[in-house]
Protein backbone atom coordinates (compact mmCIF):
# COMPACT_ATOMS: atom_id res chain seq x y z
CA UNK A 1 0.00 0.00 0.00
CA UNK A 2 1.52 3.36 -1.09
CA UNK A 3 1.62 6.27 1.35
CA UNK A 4 -0.84 8.68 -0.38
CA UNK A 5 -3.59 6.08 -0.37
CA UNK A 6 -5.77 5.97 2.72
CA UNK A 7 -5.84 2.66 4.54
CA UNK A 8 -8.46 0.13 3.45
CA UNK A 9 -8.72 1.43 -0.14
CA UNK A 10 -7.47 -1.81 -1.73
CA UNK A 11 -10.19 -3.57 0.19
CA UNK A 12 -12.64 -1.10 -1.33
CA UNK A 13 -11.28 -1.80 -4.85
CA UNK A 14 -11.79 -5.51 -4.37
CA UNK A 15 -15.32 -5.01 -3.18
CA UNK A 16 -16.05 -2.65 -6.08
CA UNK A 17 -14.77 -5.21 -8.59
CA UNK A 18 -16.89 -7.96 -7.04
CA UNK A 19 -19.99 -5.76 -7.12
CA UNK A 20 -19.37 -4.86 -10.76
CA UNK A 21 -19.00 -8.51 -11.74
CA UNK A 22 -22.23 -9.39 -9.96
CA UNK A 23 -23.97 -6.54 -11.77
CA UNK A 24 -22.64 -7.69 -15.15
CA UNK A 25 -23.87 -11.23 -14.49
CA UNK A 26 -27.29 -9.94 -13.53
CA UNK A 27 -27.67 -7.79 -16.65
CA UNK A 28 -26.45 -10.73 -18.74
CA UNK A 29 -29.28 -12.81 -17.32
CA UNK A 30 -31.69 -10.01 -18.15
CA UNK A 31 -30.48 -9.96 -21.75
CA UNK A 32 -31.05 -13.72 -21.92
CA UNK A 33 -34.63 -13.28 -20.72
CA UNK A 34 -35.15 -10.65 -23.40
CA UNK A 35 -33.98 -13.17 -26.01
CA UNK A 36 -36.56 -15.69 -24.76
CA UNK A 37 -39.34 -13.19 -25.09
CA UNK A 38 -38.27 -12.35 -28.62
CA UNK A 39 -38.35 -16.00 -29.70
CA UNK A 40 -41.95 -16.40 -28.50
CA UNK A 41 -42.77 -13.16 -30.30
CA UNK A 42 -41.41 -14.70 -33.50
CA UNK A 43 -43.86 -17.63 -33.23
CA UNK A 44 -46.61 -15.03 -33.03
CA UNK A 45 -45.33 -13.17 -36.09
CA UNK A 46 -45.13 -16.38 -38.12
CA UNK A 47 -48.70 -17.36 -37.26
CA UNK A 48 -49.94 -13.89 -38.08
CA UNK A 49 -48.32 -13.70 -41.51
CA UNK A 50 -49.58 -17.10 -42.65
CA UNK A 51 -53.17 -16.25 -41.77
CA UNK A 52 -53.03 -12.71 -43.14
CA UNK A 53 -52.53 -14.16 -46.65
CA UNK A 54 -55.36 -16.69 -46.39
CA UNK A 55 -57.83 -14.21 -44.91
CA UNK A 56 -57.47 -11.84 -47.88
CA UNK A 57 -58.18 -14.62 -50.37
CA UNK A 58 -61.16 -15.94 -48.38
CA UNK A 59 -62.78 -12.53 -47.99
CA UNK A 60 -62.17 -11.63 -51.65
CA UNK A 61 -63.67 -14.88 -52.91
CA UNK A 62 -66.63 -14.59 -50.54
CA UNK A 63 -67.39 -11.06 -51.74
CA UNK A 64 -67.13 -12.24 -55.35
CA UNK A 65 -69.47 -15.20 -54.76
CA UNK A 66 -71.95 -12.97 -52.95
CA UNK A 67 -71.98 -10.37 -55.75
CA UNK A 68 -72.35 -13.14 -58.36
CA UNK A 69 -75.32 -14.57 -56.51
CA UNK A 70 -76.85 -11.11 -56.19
CA UNK A 71 -76.20 -9.83 -59.75
CA UNK A 72 -76.39 -13.20 -61.52
CA UNK A 73 -73.00 -12.84 -63.18
CA UNK A 74 -71.62 -16.27 -62.30
CA UNK A 75 -68.61 -16.83 -62.31
CA UNK A 76 -66.99 -13.59 -63.42
CA UNK A 77 -67.03 -11.46 -60.29
CA UNK A 78 -65.80 -14.41 -58.24
CA UNK A 79 -62.76 -14.67 -60.50
CA UNK A 80 -62.12 -10.91 -60.37
CA UNK A 81 -62.46 -10.73 -56.60
CA UNK A 82 -60.35 -13.84 -56.12
CA UNK A 83 -57.49 -11.95 -57.81
CA UNK A 84 -58.25 -8.79 -55.83
CA UNK A 85 -58.40 -10.84 -52.61
CA UNK A 86 -55.05 -12.46 -53.35
CA UNK A 87 -53.53 -9.02 -53.91
CA UNK A 88 -55.05 -7.85 -50.62
CA UNK A 89 -53.62 -10.91 -48.88
CA UNK A 90 -50.14 -10.19 -50.21
CA UNK A 91 -50.47 -6.56 -49.19
CA UNK A 92 -51.46 -7.62 -45.67
CA UNK A 93 -48.38 -9.84 -45.49
CA UNK A 94 -46.06 -7.10 -46.75
CA UNK A 95 -47.55 -4.61 -44.30
CA UNK A 96 -47.19 -6.96 -41.32
CA UNK A 97 -43.60 -7.76 -42.27
CA UNK A 98 -42.74 -4.08 -42.76
CA UNK A 99 -44.23 -3.12 -39.39
CA UNK A 100 -42.22 -5.92 -37.78
CA UNK A 101 -39.06 -4.75 -39.55
CA UNK A 102 -39.58 -1.21 -38.29
CA UNK A 103 -40.10 -2.43 -34.73
CA UNK A 104 -36.96 -4.56 -34.89
CA UNK A 105 -34.90 -1.64 -36.25
CA UNK A 106 -36.22 0.62 -33.48
CA UNK A 107 -35.36 -1.98 -30.86
CA UNK A 108 -31.84 -2.38 -32.25
CA UNK A 109 -31.30 1.38 -32.30
CA UNK A 110 -32.50 1.66 -28.72
CA UNK A 111 -30.20 -1.18 -27.67
CA UNK A 112 -27.20 0.43 -29.41
CA UNK A 113 -27.92 3.79 -27.79
CA UNK A 114 -28.17 2.15 -24.38
CA UNK A 115 -24.88 0.33 -24.88
CA UNK A 116 -23.16 3.55 -25.91
CA UNK A 117 -24.42 5.27 -22.77
CA UNK A 118 -23.16 2.44 -20.62
CA UNK A 119 -19.78 2.05 -22.34
Amino acid sequence: MSEHQPPGSSDFDARLRAAREAQAELSGKKAEARGDRQSSEKIGIGMRIALELVAGVIVGTAIGLGLDYWLGTKPWLMIVFFVVGSAAGFMNVIRTAKAYDRRMAEQKAAEAARRQNEG
Binding site: S40, M47, E52, A55, I58, I63, F81, V84, A88, N92
Partner: protein
Amino acid sequence: MASPLQQFEIKTLTPLFEIGGTPIGITNSALAMIAAVGVVSLFLGLGMRRAALVPGRWQSMVELSYEFIANMLRENVGSEGRRYFPFVFSLFMFVLFGNLLGMIPYSFTFTSHLAVTFVMAAVVFVAVTIIGFAHHGLHYFRMLFPHGAPLWTAVILVPIELVSYLSRPISLSVRLFANMTVGHVMLKVLAGFVVALGLIGGWLPLAALVGITALELLIAVLQAYIFTILSCIYLNDAIHMH
Protein backbone atom coordinates in the same frame (compact mmCIF):
# COMPACT_ATOMS: atom_id res chain seq x y z
CA MET B 1 -61.59 -44.25 -28.06
CA ALA B 2 -63.78 -41.16 -28.14
CA SER B 3 -63.58 -38.87 -31.12
CA PRO B 4 -61.07 -36.06 -30.63
CA LEU B 5 -63.75 -33.61 -31.76
CA GLN B 6 -66.24 -34.68 -29.10
CA GLN B 7 -64.77 -32.15 -26.66
CA PHE B 8 -66.08 -29.27 -28.79
CA GLU B 9 -69.70 -30.44 -28.74
CA ILE B 10 -72.21 -27.90 -27.48
CA LYS B 11 -74.66 -29.32 -24.97
CA THR B 12 -77.61 -27.42 -23.56
CA LEU B 13 -77.53 -27.76 -19.81
CA THR B 14 -80.64 -25.82 -18.82
CA PRO B 15 -83.07 -24.76 -21.56
CA LEU B 16 -84.53 -21.34 -20.76
CA PHE B 17 -86.90 -20.15 -23.50
CA GLU B 18 -87.42 -20.06 -27.24
CA ILE B 19 -87.10 -17.19 -29.70
CA GLY B 20 -88.77 -17.91 -33.03
CA GLY B 21 -88.33 -21.66 -32.66
CA THR B 22 -84.64 -21.38 -31.67
CA PRO B 23 -84.10 -22.76 -28.18
CA ILE B 24 -82.10 -20.46 -25.92
CA GLY B 25 -80.48 -21.97 -22.86
CA ILE B 26 -77.34 -22.17 -20.84
CA THR B 27 -74.92 -24.41 -22.74
CA ASN B 28 -71.58 -25.76 -21.62
CA SER B 29 -69.98 -22.99 -23.70
CA ALA B 30 -72.04 -20.29 -21.95
CA LEU B 31 -71.20 -21.85 -18.60
CA ALA B 32 -67.48 -21.73 -19.45
CA MET B 33 -67.80 -18.04 -20.35
CA ILE B 34 -69.63 -17.30 -17.09
CA ALA B 35 -66.90 -19.19 -15.25
CA ALA B 36 -64.19 -17.18 -17.03
CA VAL B 37 -65.88 -13.88 -16.12
CA GLY B 38 -66.28 -15.12 -12.53
CA VAL B 39 -62.64 -16.18 -12.21
CA VAL B 40 -61.39 -12.91 -13.70
CA SER B 41 -63.59 -10.93 -11.30
CA LEU B 42 -62.38 -12.98 -8.33
CA PHE B 43 -58.74 -12.68 -9.46
CA LEU B 44 -58.93 -8.90 -9.80
CA GLY B 45 -61.34 -8.21 -6.93
CA LEU B 46 -59.68 -10.36 -4.29
CA GLY B 47 -56.21 -9.36 -5.48
CA MET B 48 -56.99 -5.68 -4.87
CA ARG B 49 -59.06 -6.27 -1.72
CA ARG B 50 -56.27 -4.90 0.45
CA ALA B 51 -54.78 -2.36 -1.94
CA ALA B 52 -51.42 -2.01 -0.23
CA LEU B 53 -48.74 0.50 -1.22
CA VAL B 54 -46.21 -2.34 -1.22
CA PRO B 55 -48.09 -5.09 -3.07
CA GLY B 56 -48.10 -8.71 -2.02
CA ARG B 57 -47.75 -11.56 -4.51
CA TRP B 58 -51.37 -11.64 -5.60
CA GLN B 59 -51.70 -7.89 -5.82
CA SER B 60 -48.57 -7.62 -7.94
CA MET B 61 -49.99 -10.21 -10.34
CA VAL B 62 -53.06 -8.00 -10.75
CA GLU B 63 -50.92 -4.89 -11.16
CA LEU B 64 -48.68 -6.67 -13.66
CA SER B 65 -51.63 -7.56 -15.88
CA TYR B 66 -52.91 -3.98 -15.62
CA GLU B 67 -49.53 -2.49 -16.51
CA PHE B 68 -49.03 -5.00 -19.33
CA ILE B 69 -52.16 -3.79 -21.14
CA ALA B 70 -51.61 -0.14 -20.19
CA ASN B 71 -48.10 -0.27 -21.71
CA MET B 72 -49.39 -2.09 -24.79
CA LEU B 73 -51.95 0.64 -25.37
CA ARG B 74 -49.44 3.44 -24.74
CA GLU B 75 -46.86 1.95 -27.11
CA ASN B 76 -49.27 1.04 -29.90
CA VAL B 77 -51.94 3.72 -29.73
CA GLY B 78 -50.48 6.56 -27.66
CA SER B 79 -52.22 8.71 -25.10
CA GLU B 80 -55.52 8.70 -27.04
CA GLY B 81 -55.72 4.97 -26.38
CA ARG B 82 -56.24 5.44 -22.64
CA ARG B 83 -59.98 5.96 -23.17
CA TYR B 84 -60.29 2.46 -24.59
CA PHE B 85 -58.32 0.77 -21.81
CA PRO B 86 -61.38 -0.76 -20.04
CA PHE B 87 -62.53 -2.48 -23.22
CA VAL B 88 -59.09 -3.73 -24.26
CA PHE B 89 -58.31 -4.96 -20.75
CA SER B 90 -61.63 -6.83 -20.50
CA LEU B 91 -61.03 -8.36 -23.92
CA PHE B 92 -57.54 -9.54 -22.95
CA MET B 93 -58.59 -11.00 -19.59
CA PHE B 94 -61.64 -12.74 -21.10
CA VAL B 95 -59.64 -14.39 -23.90
CA LEU B 96 -56.70 -15.21 -21.62
CA PHE B 97 -58.82 -16.87 -18.94
CA GLY B 98 -60.97 -18.58 -21.58
CA ASN B 99 -57.83 -20.13 -23.07
CA LEU B 100 -56.27 -21.01 -19.72
CA LEU B 101 -59.41 -22.44 -18.10
CA GLY B 102 -59.84 -24.54 -21.24
CA MET B 103 -56.55 -26.25 -20.40
CA ILE B 104 -58.10 -27.78 -17.26
CA PRO B 105 -59.16 -31.36 -18.06
CA TYR B 106 -62.94 -31.86 -18.56
CA SER B 107 -63.52 -28.13 -18.90
CA PHE B 108 -64.71 -26.46 -22.09
CA THR B 109 -62.66 -24.08 -24.28
CA PHE B 110 -65.09 -21.49 -25.60
CA THR B 111 -62.35 -19.79 -27.65
CA SER B 112 -62.24 -22.97 -29.80
CA HIS B 113 -65.54 -21.96 -31.40
CA LEU B 114 -65.49 -19.69 -34.42
CA ALA B 115 -68.89 -18.27 -33.44
CA VAL B 116 -67.40 -16.92 -30.19
CA THR B 117 -64.13 -15.60 -31.59
CA PHE B 118 -65.84 -14.10 -34.64
CA VAL B 119 -68.29 -12.17 -32.49
CA MET B 120 -65.39 -10.73 -30.48
CA ALA B 121 -63.47 -9.86 -33.67
CA ALA B 122 -66.60 -8.33 -35.22
CA VAL B 123 -67.17 -6.17 -32.14
CA VAL B 124 -63.56 -4.95 -32.39
CA PHE B 125 -63.94 -4.35 -36.14
CA VAL B 126 -67.23 -2.43 -35.86
CA ALA B 127 -65.98 -0.41 -32.88
CA VAL B 128 -62.73 0.50 -34.65
CA THR B 129 -64.62 1.56 -37.78
CA ILE B 130 -67.01 3.74 -35.74
CA ILE B 131 -64.07 5.27 -33.84
CA GLY B 132 -62.33 5.98 -37.16
CA PHE B 133 -65.37 7.77 -38.59
CA ALA B 134 -65.91 9.64 -35.31
CA HIS B 135 -62.31 10.92 -35.35
CA HIS B 136 -61.96 11.76 -39.03
CA GLY B 137 -65.49 11.97 -40.45
CA LEU B 138 -65.67 11.13 -44.14
CA HIS B 139 -61.90 11.57 -44.33
CA TYR B 140 -61.70 8.06 -42.93
CA PHE B 141 -62.34 6.78 -46.48
CA ARG B 142 -58.77 7.92 -47.22
CA MET B 143 -57.81 4.67 -45.44
CA LEU B 144 -58.75 2.92 -48.69
CA PHE B 145 -56.30 4.88 -50.82
CA PRO B 146 -52.60 5.17 -49.96
CA HIS B 147 -51.03 8.63 -49.90
CA GLY B 148 -49.00 9.66 -52.95
CA ALA B 149 -50.34 7.03 -55.36
CA PRO B 150 -51.43 8.31 -58.81
CA LEU B 151 -55.17 8.88 -59.00
CA TRP B 152 -55.87 6.43 -61.83
CA THR B 153 -54.61 3.52 -59.69
CA ALA B 154 -57.64 4.03 -57.43
CA VAL B 155 -59.60 1.64 -59.67
CA ILE B 156 -57.32 -1.20 -58.60
CA LEU B 157 -56.17 -0.04 -55.17
CA VAL B 158 -59.52 0.80 -53.60
CA PRO B 159 -61.02 -2.71 -54.05
CA ILE B 160 -57.77 -4.27 -52.82
CA GLU B 161 -57.64 -2.01 -49.77
CA LEU B 162 -61.33 -2.62 -49.10
CA VAL B 163 -60.86 -6.40 -49.15
CA SER B 164 -57.75 -6.01 -47.00
CA TYR B 165 -59.74 -3.95 -44.49
CA LEU B 166 -62.64 -6.43 -44.48
CA SER B 167 -60.28 -9.38 -44.00
CA ARG B 168 -59.27 -8.09 -40.55
CA PRO B 169 -62.08 -9.67 -38.52
CA ILE B 170 -61.60 -12.96 -40.41
CA SER B 171 -57.89 -13.23 -39.71
CA LEU B 172 -58.37 -12.04 -36.13
CA SER B 173 -61.05 -14.61 -35.31
CA VAL B 174 -59.76 -17.57 -37.34
CA ARG B 175 -56.30 -17.24 -35.78
CA LEU B 176 -57.54 -17.65 -32.23
CA PHE B 177 -60.12 -20.31 -33.09
CA ALA B 178 -57.73 -22.41 -35.22
CA ASN B 179 -54.92 -22.31 -32.67
CA MET B 180 -57.12 -23.40 -29.79
CA THR B 181 -58.94 -26.11 -31.77
CA VAL B 182 -55.78 -27.61 -33.24
CA GLY B 183 -54.05 -27.64 -29.87
CA HIS B 184 -56.90 -29.40 -28.12
CA VAL B 185 -57.35 -31.96 -30.91
CA MET B 186 -53.62 -32.72 -30.77
CA LEU B 187 -53.74 -33.21 -27.00
CA LYS B 188 -56.73 -35.55 -27.33
CA VAL B 189 -55.14 -37.65 -30.08
CA LEU B 190 -51.89 -38.03 -28.13
CA ALA B 191 -53.84 -38.93 -25.00
CA GLY B 192 -55.62 -41.58 -27.10
CA PHE B 193 -52.23 -43.06 -28.03
CA VAL B 194 -51.29 -43.29 -24.36
CA VAL B 195 -54.39 -45.38 -23.63
CA ALA B 196 -54.08 -47.48 -26.82
CA LEU B 197 -50.40 -48.39 -26.27
CA GLY B 198 -50.97 -49.16 -22.59
CA LEU B 199 -48.30 -49.76 -19.97
CA ILE B 200 -45.66 -51.01 -22.43
CA GLY B 201 -45.50 -48.32 -25.10
CA GLY B 202 -47.58 -45.57 -23.59
CA TRP B 203 -44.69 -43.75 -21.96
CA LEU B 204 -43.43 -42.14 -25.14
CA PRO B 205 -46.71 -40.36 -26.06
CA LEU B 206 -47.15 -39.49 -22.39
CA ALA B 207 -43.79 -37.69 -22.41
CA ALA B 208 -44.78 -35.90 -25.61
CA LEU B 209 -48.10 -35.01 -24.00
CA VAL B 210 -46.34 -33.27 -21.13
CA GLY B 211 -44.30 -31.20 -23.58
CA ILE B 212 -47.32 -30.35 -25.74
CA THR B 213 -49.28 -29.32 -22.66
CA ALA B 214 -46.54 -26.81 -21.82
CA LEU B 215 -46.59 -25.59 -25.42
CA GLU B 216 -50.37 -25.22 -25.27
CA LEU B 217 -50.07 -23.08 -22.15
CA LEU B 218 -47.63 -20.85 -24.03
CA ILE B 219 -50.00 -20.66 -27.00
CA ALA B 220 -52.97 -19.89 -24.74
CA VAL B 221 -51.16 -16.80 -23.41
CA LEU B 222 -49.62 -15.91 -26.76
CA GLN B 223 -52.93 -15.98 -28.63
CA ALA B 224 -54.60 -13.78 -26.03
CA TYR B 225 -51.67 -11.38 -26.44
CA ILE B 226 -51.88 -11.41 -30.24
CA PHE B 227 -55.64 -10.90 -30.23
CA THR B 228 -55.23 -7.88 -27.97
CA ILE B 229 -52.21 -6.33 -29.68
CA LEU B 230 -53.87 -6.60 -33.10
CA SER B 231 -56.94 -4.86 -31.69
CA CYS B 232 -54.58 -2.12 -30.46
CA ILE B 233 -52.93 -1.85 -33.89
CA TYR B 234 -56.32 -1.56 -35.62
CA LEU B 235 -57.33 1.07 -33.07
CA ASN B 236 -54.13 2.98 -33.82
CA ASP B 237 -54.85 2.83 -37.56
CA ALA B 238 -58.32 4.24 -36.94
CA ILE B 239 -57.13 7.08 -34.71
CA HIS B 240 -53.94 8.06 -36.54
CA MET B 241 -54.62 6.70 -40.06
CA HIS B 242 -51.21 5.18 -40.97
